[in-house]
Symmetry: D2
Subunit: 308 residues, 4 copies
Amino acid sequence: MSLPAAFHEIAARVNNWGRWGVDDEIGTLNLITDDVVRSAAAEVRSGRRVPLALPLKEDGVQTGLIPGRVNPLHAMVQINQELFGPGTVATSDDTVTMGLQTATHWDALTHVSHSGKIYNGRPAATITAHTGARFSGIEKVPYIVSRGVLLDVARTKGLGRLPGDHAVSPEDLDEAAKFGGVTVRRGDIVLVRTGQIQVYLAGDRHMYGHPSPGLSVRTPEWFHARDVAAVADDTLTFEIFPPEIEGLWLPVHALHLVEMGLTQGQNWDLEKLSTACAEEGRYAFLLSAMPEPFVGGTGTPVAPVAVL
Amino acid sequence: MSLPAAFHEIAARVNNWGRWGVDDEIGTLNLITDDVVRSAAAEVRSGRRVPLALPLKEDGVQTGLIPGRVNPLHAMVQINQELFGPGTVATSDDTVTMGLQTATHWDALTHVSHSGKIYNGRPAATITAHTGARFSGIEKVPYIVSRGVLLDVARTKGLGRLPGDHAVSPEDLDEAAKFGGVTVRRGDIVLVRTGQIQVYLAGDRHMYGHPSPGLSVRTPEWFHARDVAAVADDTLTFEIFPPEIEGLWLPVHALHLVEMGLTQGQNWDLEKLSTACAEEGRYAFLLSAMPEPFVGGTGTPVAPVAVL
Amino acid sequence: MSLPAAFHEIAARVNNWGRWGVDDEIGTLNLITDDVVRSAAAEVRSGRRVPLALPLKEDGVQTGLIPGRVNPLHAMVQINQELFGPGTVATSDDTVTMGLQTATHWDALTHVSHSGKIYNGRPAATITAHTGARFSGIEKVPYIVSRGVLLDVARTKGLGRLPGDHAVSPEDLDEAAKFGGVTVRRGDIVLVRTGQIQVYLAGDRHMYGHPSPGLSVRTPEWFHARDVAAVADDTLTFEIFPPEIEGLWLPVHALHLVEMGLTQGQNWDLEKLSTACAEEGRYAFLLSAMPEPFVGGTGTPVAPVAVL
Amino acid sequence: MSLPAAFHEIAARVNNWGRWGVDDEIGTLNLITDDVVRSAAAEVRSGRRVPLALPLKEDGVQTGLIPGRVNPLHAMVQINQELFGPGTVATSDDTVTMGLQTATHWDALTHVSHSGKIYNGRPAATITAHTGARFSGIEKVPYIVSRGVLLDVARTKGLGRLPGDHAVSPEDLDEAAKFGGVTVRRGDIVLVRTGQIQVYLAGDRHMYGHPSPGLSVRTPEWFHARDVAAVADDTLTFEIFPPEIEGLWLPVHALHLVEMGLTQGQNWDLEKLSTACAEEGRYAFLLSAMPEPFVGGTGTPVAPVAVL
């Protein structure tokens, strides 16, 4: 079995293999140049900051459906311990065990493979238990700081959140950009708001996961045409789930991560940002969303912040 | 036994308990106002970005001396797994177990207590295995984005790195600020470079830890006088180790975290930033250093980025 | 608030503090003498072995209700890795993260405290994040090998499993002993079968936990009178849950672990043993149920085996 | 590259593939029949029990040389927590993260592969991050209880421990059996004592690992001829390390685990057993060494006990 022709046709149109050289490991993040960052900083007007990460805790978004993807387990190894003797300064220390794709996160380009390949045509078999991802591991990404643009699809449509069967289309993105008065530019990080995370915030982890609105298989071309550097949204699956084309699972993942080399983010809490952008009447901002440099990591928790 | 009078005298001069209300949990981070952030963004000139985190890996900076503070253990739970059947898109997933104070990190204010108290006079006993830190856990810090200032003490003195017995003094900080042409201001995040991390980068984890240069017990007053929001450096122990006053262990930790409510960072790799600042002739920049919001966490890994 | 008088009255009757000296850390396990073990070995007739542990896996018996008590997370760190070069012998290595009271386990005596005390009158505060249990940690138990006796309460009553609101009484134990043709003796390890684990084995983790049959608060005196060394059963909560006396939670835990110093086990799969004993017409056997010696551990997974 | 002819010659002589059917997953453990267990129980004379596991703790035998094989990290998630309200019975809970081949352990047959194969000729590729070992995972071993025989090579030679370059030979095993007055029989578990673990017990983890005495590549044939069920010793590497034949790494592992399907154990503390056997003048006993049933596990910690 292999992926259907419909997939391969889109793949051919968005493929970036070789675009930044055969040795490239970071894909569209190359589009974030010093110029882009300078103009991103220039977007700061009010100095208002909006954090976009969910709290990291044991009752996080994971339900156990994805084997091995565990919510953070926090445990103590020292509590007010006077390590240097009675009456001395005391310290507390803690540890965590967690999946790297568990909460608000970036997928590394290596999180997905298809047809035996990862981004830039390398063999998928370069991912091993011994080293993790030998190429395009998350530690290869030096920084993710750029202009962020919120495409608030739910608000544009006058909805609190999109229905579970809504595939966010290129037309939706155009409409939301127009609503926000922004033009998506080369090097931007695009945040797409569906409102789906409200389901989790209201306490229902199971319904949050699926059915879920999310990106349509038609959107990668939209991002490709605009040379977007990265994309994140407020859902568990990133793309609409169950998928639009029967039997074609995770096509947007495969197009973004494998074909385009476009880093993508999931479980971003865009609720407060939606409010802030609406209040300030601006949908572009400085976005810092630094990956934790796990060597060989196929993903990373991230604590993004938008500065308006 | 209790802490010596010398400690309590300094403590009385720098104490911030109640300054931001009895309910405050974030201390000097309150000093990072919208105004401060706006002017921080205005420091961006070239758009050059410098990441400051060490890679997260099993042979990280920890040597086993601090019980329970383990380097990141990375393991795979899926490798190119075709979860939806043969020939479908495949995913790779990984997990990590690590101490929250292990690598490049922020200490939460609750990382240290003395005399039974944490910041703002709360009982140290509010830290439990059940909830971790009930007050001032790292998830209470919504964002750390501000103006960063590099005080490159080693470079100022014409040294690659300071000797192991060098306590960085207020005079050293003044001298480095003058060398850098910067005035430390309210709300700044001050990065103090000793060069010590070169020892680790050269492969010697044991010598990196101690003896180590670091902040003198006299520096908290210097930071207090300038209303600094946070301080980080490039050592394992943050302050000089072994300490200046025999039997007074971790006094700077206790003054910063407990008395002042000043968030502090350790194991920051300031080597490339030192080069960048020297090349650009500027020692102030936009700094984003977002904590991962571990609920109840007494610390957090951080992937800081300086934008020049 | 404190525990009700009803509890303290039983506690006074079964208390073993000081019985094996003020330094004792293992309580009723002292009752397993060489003599007891010799006669236990003499119970072996057929050589038939029955393992009693549930498989250790991510979808184990824990549902997330008990904070921090996580099912085993298994992950790979090496898969067929030719560590010594291409074509050499390859190795696979794995890691696990799990709660020590998660699956088939022994509670260490320190798993429970009441009124600020653990077994033998020691302060509960001797359990810390730094060392775990300083006294009566599971590593202090050198061996658990003795005569095992199955009291098959469900089978005795002609039931597949007891109803969820059935508190196993002393009369039930007498009846089951008579049914099995055994007399419980000093140093025995008593296994009480309710059949409740069938609910888990049938796939319902939530119903398995509660409501659940289990030991009545009246049974510790029965075990005390017979000088039983340890007790285990096939439920999540060990004792009936919700409890018999409103507001008195976990009384059997407190009586066994704190007052008597009696080590107890939960989530033991007694189904195959029930069949084997019925087939052989014998309800006594050699039982080996060695704790893993986690230093400071308040519990341990265990893989018990009955040899008939 | 591939393994040398010398290896393949021995392999041909000891290979057990198909011996217990094409579906077999446990190899020589099939040799432990009810008869064997009955006569094992008959070895119990004094009732004296000797535990053979090292304590599980953070400063265990691993030094960091083997990537991912971490010593146990113990952490607390509840300490005397009154989960049901103030004044109620309190519980303490802990978690562990550890490598499954870290301390006193059994290697599952899948721990090693060579030439792309595991035991019984199955493809090594059946081990994945998703399921761990699909065949011959440690959970497939229902029980390990049999007659144990201590071959105390060090004591036989009048040494505290063997020199680091001593390969334990078939002649050494014969000599030790004669010294102990035992004949190794079908279904026995053979424990080979070198005394090397004294180096670890004396505090030197690095010297413990290598150079290390251990089994010679000539011993698998000896075990094969006697139809031994399993073998364990008191070293980190099990076999002599560095190896006898240059470039032939871990040949005994490959012969035992892959060719013979013989389960093997490492880091067993045989010191107290050596004393006990010498005192009692008997070198055969009942041995219970139950694996923890980690699903898909390529190894397991074990807490063996000898009953004399």
